[in-house]
Amino acid sequence: MKFEIIITITLKEGMLNPEAEAIRHAIAHLGYATDRLVTADQFRITLDAADKTKAEEIAGSICERLLANPVIHTYEIEVI
């Protein structure tokens, strides 16, 4: 079965994210006040798997082995 998977990689809570801070400041220059801004990398993958659980497992393995660095990242997997 084909599954489409959305993987979202974010920095762990408390990790310095200078890019997000720079963007938040730019938004402030436009006159909008924001309390918090998080950036994330999103990957959309289509793959073959026996079922949804297996598809999630494969995506998890891809995250662990390449897409995320466990020192600084967390990831979320959504199978659609």
Binding site: P18, L66, V71
Partner: protein, 231 residues
């Protein structure tokens, strides 16, 4: 010393480091394209600076998963010296050769400037020719060079004398103002458990000849050569 300098697509300091090893230090260096694998015994493997795979995903992340890195890890486990410089340091960290990761600078732009480093370890195969606490001047050139390491690993690195270099001012003071990229503890050179792997963001090959303004980096290559000749 016979060294292998690994070339990935996007490496751009490979020839510089091979030149320094051969022409400046008088040792041997082979340039090895990453697809060819490491098929000979070398005393040292150099992962040079550059922008392997365009720094896609994370600097060093994709090169770290190429088959030749399995050869490098295997060689490191048998005691071969491995020196990762800049992008090579990022690749080595992504490969798990040292704990932690080099990520985007605290001020998120590319920095290219001379940096002062305090030598913290003078017993490793890479740093044995330095004096303890010696302040050296070696340039940096990176955007993703901020060393981040979990606290438990940091404590271990310190306890095991595995921090090779810290950013400092010209008098050797390790201060926040002297930390160009926001690295944890100003750390910019880290050794593996057996101390036969050194990863560092500064470029010693760019500080190995008088004409370049500093020869402070040459001692790293000379240390490696002295170590190889002894063992």
């Amino acid at each position: 010393m016979k060294a292998a300098v690994i070339q990935f697509g996007g490496s751009n300091c490979d020839r510089d480091v091979a030149y320094v090893i051969q022409e400046v230090c008088g040792a041997e260096a082979d340039l090895i394209w990453y697809k060819d694998g490491i098929n000979k015994q070398y005393d040292a493997i150099i992962l040079p600076g550059g922008f392997s795979y365009g720094d896609y995903l994370r600097a060093g992340a994709i090169a770290a998963r190429t088959p030749i890195m399995a050869d490098v890890i295997k060689a490191a486990h048998t005691g071969t010296l491995v020196l990762g410089i800049c992008n090579g340091a990022q690749i080595a960290a992504e490969s798990g050769l040292i704990p932690g990761v080099f990520t985007i600078n605290s001020y998120p732009k590319f920095i290219c400037e001379p940096a002062y480093l305090r030598v913290e370890n003078t017993t490793s195969p890479f740093t044995r020719l330095y004096r303890e606490g010696e302040v050296v001047r070696i340039p940096i050139a990176h955007k993703e060079g901020r060393y981040v390491v979990p606290e438990s690993d940091l404590a271990r690195l310190e306890a095991e004398n595995r921090i090779a270099f810290r950013f400092c001012d010209k008098d050797g003071r390790v201060t926040e103002a002297a930390n160009p990229n926001g690295a944890t503890g100003n750390i910019t050179g880290v050794l593996s458990e057996k101390q036969n792997v050194l990863v560092m963001m500064p470029h010693p090959e760019r500080a190995s000849e008088e004409i370049l303004g500093s020869t402070d980096g040459k001692k790293i290559f000379d240390s490696m050569i002295a170590h190889s000749e002894q063992s």
